[in-house]
Symmetry: C3
């Protein structure tokens, strides 16, 4: 369930109303009056929740899911478990985006704004310091001895731990920050991720209902960006150090004590292990797993999983010794051709 500190849920809604909203068809024998209370993922759903099922790879997960209803295709509908209500549509992810937007409508403008720099119910810990122009939203909690830089913006519900240094001109939203975290100027955390479905009306945002979790002793370099999770969270592990201008997409999970060098970009849902070194300007495509202690040379383009302790380089990434062998062979080739 999305964190109620950040998200207000509407509903519940009748199954038939959800079907109407997203243009889906109720499968035979489904109760149109079944009340659905929330959206969820296949793994986390309970009996009041609706999920989407668009990829046969998840058929086993769905079989053991406790979801009350699922949105799926004609073809996949028979794989839904007994007792799970089914909505049938051609594009389950687009339908899910519609349903998600119904449960979690855009917050009213008044909650995005306020007339005061510090919300009346924000909590600032003992010895905490707030520089001029810093704005602290409703329900935010700042720990002891933490400093909030000039013109920083701390969104509603955000939690910052003890002894943190939040830089000037930063924006923190939808996030929980541990202790002794250093966030440099210009960092933007918690905006909704870059997830869209294509519809007849253009690209439509998939609801982004997660958070950003930043563990203790993390450092995040100037002007870096970390998007919040779609379902579930984006996570930065304890002691990980992130350089300037780095992009961390939604639902990325980074382990502890990693080093992420400047201008690297990590796409959605990647899992990075502990003690990984990601070189400058590295790009990692979405859903990749990088094992503990792996090292990725600068500018490498990672297009598939990397095992623990592997050292890779190149575009696309390959073992670093192979990369240099290939460079030598290529160079040799031009000598032969002369």
């Amino acid at each position: 369930m999305p964190d109620p500190r950040f998200y207000r849920r509407a509903g519940p809604f009748r199954l038939a109303d959800l079907a109407g909203r997203c243009g889906a068809r109720l499968a035979a024998a489904c109760d149109p009056n079944l009340l659905i209370h929330d959206v969820a993922t296949i793994e986390t759903a309970t009996s009041g929740d609706i999920v989407y099922f668009a990829d046969p790879a998840y058929v086993l997960a769905l079989a053991s899911s406790r979801c009350g209803a699922c949105i799926t295709t004609e073809e996949l509908a028979p794989r839904a478990p007994a007792g799970c209500a089914v909505l049938v549509t051609t594009d389950p992810r687009a339908a899910y985006a519609e349903v998600g937007a119904l449960f979690y409508p855009e917050p009213p403008l008044s909650t995005l704004s306020q007339n005061v720099d510090i919300a009346a119910d924000a909590v600032l810990g003992e010895g905490c310091v707030r520089a001029p122009g810093a704005v602290i939203g409703a329900g935010a909690i700042i720990g002891k001895r933490s400093s909030i830089g000039a013109n920083a913006v701390i969104g509603p519900g955000v939690v910052v731990g003890d002894d943190c240094r939040i830089g000037a001109n930063t924006t923190l939203a939808y996030c929980l920050v541990g202790n002794r975290v250093v966030i440099h100027p210009g960092v933007q955390i918690g905006q909704d991720g870059f997830g869209f479905v294509s519809t007849d009306d253009g690209l439509r945002k998939v609801p982004q209902l997660g958070r950003v979790i930043i563990h203790d002793d993390v450092e995040i370099g100037a002007n870096s960006t970390i998007d919040r999770g779609a379902a579930g969270d984006t996570v930065i592990g304890a002691g990980t150090k992130i350089d300037n201008l780095v992009q961390i997409a939604h639902n990325v999970e980074i382990g502890s004590r990693c080093i992420i060098v400047s201008q690297a970009g990590i796409a959605g849902s990647c899992r990075i292990g502990d003690g990984v070194v990601v070189g400058g300007q590295v790009g990692i495509v979405d859903h990749v797993r990088v094992g503990d202690g792996a090292q990725i040379a600068g500018q490498t383009g990672v297009t598939g999983d990397i095992g623990p302790g592997e050292v890779v380089m190149g575009y696309p990434a390959r073992p670093i010794r192979q990369f240099w062998r290939e460079q030598a062979a290529l160079s040799q080739l031009t000598k032969r051709d002369k």
Copy 2:
């Protein structure tokens, strides 16, 4: 003509005075007292305007131009059409930069600043919300139900449509923004582009007199940057979605419903068609045309035009199948060498 909401024009100036300012020579038979009212491009000039002509590729365009005067080289001067006054110089673009700076001098400091957060003549539409610290400049217009984030800075003359969400810590200048546009925190829009001429006194900025036009339903990711046009505008088409940390240079025109993934960079004057997908960390050199529906894989370096529907990858870009064939051949090569 540059948009008077953003630019104050000086002049008119006598042709001889312009020649003196930029160190050019009046061609024989030119009237030194001819009054010039503005700078323009060859395509858009009218009879009171002066243009520069440095590239023989534009000789046909110049022949049909209605410009009153042009700055060109000794060599190209004979190609100027009859009735067009000619200033002769060794570096027409540098001379044009001087003339442009005369017509459009840096605005006085007082107009860059103000003592109030909201200018007296700014217009905020019904239901519009402004968060603390947001600054709204002279003559700016914000549409209905739009929100302006905390510590955002909306420059003089900027227009924002209805139902927009402008993030915290953003800066919008020299731009017109459509309806339902989402601009994430830390985005910088409308700064002058990276265009210089080399002179004996060092690199001199070419006047950047255009705007940024952002059409309806566009989304722009956190900490992205979009420079304004030099002559003419930088344009983002309707429904296009731009991820975090993307760079869009001056005079780029992007079509509708494109997807531009994080950390991509598009250099000056590129024309990107509709429905194009630009992968993460892609770089596109200046003046490239990318056809409708083309797809560019992550980290690709685009150095030339790409046709409609083409799918490219690599550095430099090539058809994606060729890229993978070459990678296989390279890998094979090291096996042979063993």
Copy 3:
């Protein structure tokens, strides 16, 4: 010695106390009561200073150093010059980080913050303009006719010259800025660099005690980041133009009249000559020297020194003609294979 405008030094400390703090052993015959006044580099140290010596390449430099004490390994200890007190440890750089943190502790929170937008002792030159929300720290000096954009943050002790334009939402700290400098919106200057030592307690920041020096007529593009030096300064030479989203790491020195195109990244301690062109998305690894007038094509990965006037391209960088020859050979190879 770190600039006292930015750094408050503690101490002096007894040699034995420093050894205790960093877990090092005093070499025989060293006076435990010797007073040490500061940390320094081998090249700049005087008799009251302590340095670290971890790399045999510096043995000659150490021999002529005037340092009073050094932290080094068992193995290298015999290379210390006569009269130099020696602390022995397994990781001299980690020990130095501890000692540096003792001399330069994190400033108390109260100095990071203030209750007023403009510090009482800040100096604003004649004709200088400050937009709403701009914060100017203690002891900062702004030159004549310079403008400070809305919501910009000028840190304590920062000096800005005459006729500068500092954009909105920028943060300037630990820096000295020349005349006629243009800093675009969202730029972050002077944060501490990305330098860590690995310890049993995780990654520990090496003290970053330098500054950023920006000479006259420099331009810095939107959302670019420039870290301050660790020991010594990060320097941007006169007339150099930097585009948007560029990363300049600690202790980089860039010459005059260079052009650094968007999204390039220059790692720590690089020395870039005069008149160098660095293309978009170029990455340069740390400690590289690039000669005057060199040109680096877009997306190139520079892994070693580049001579004056050289033109390079590729990943890793090679002479541009070789790059294109290799590309042709690679393409030819797939034709042969068919």
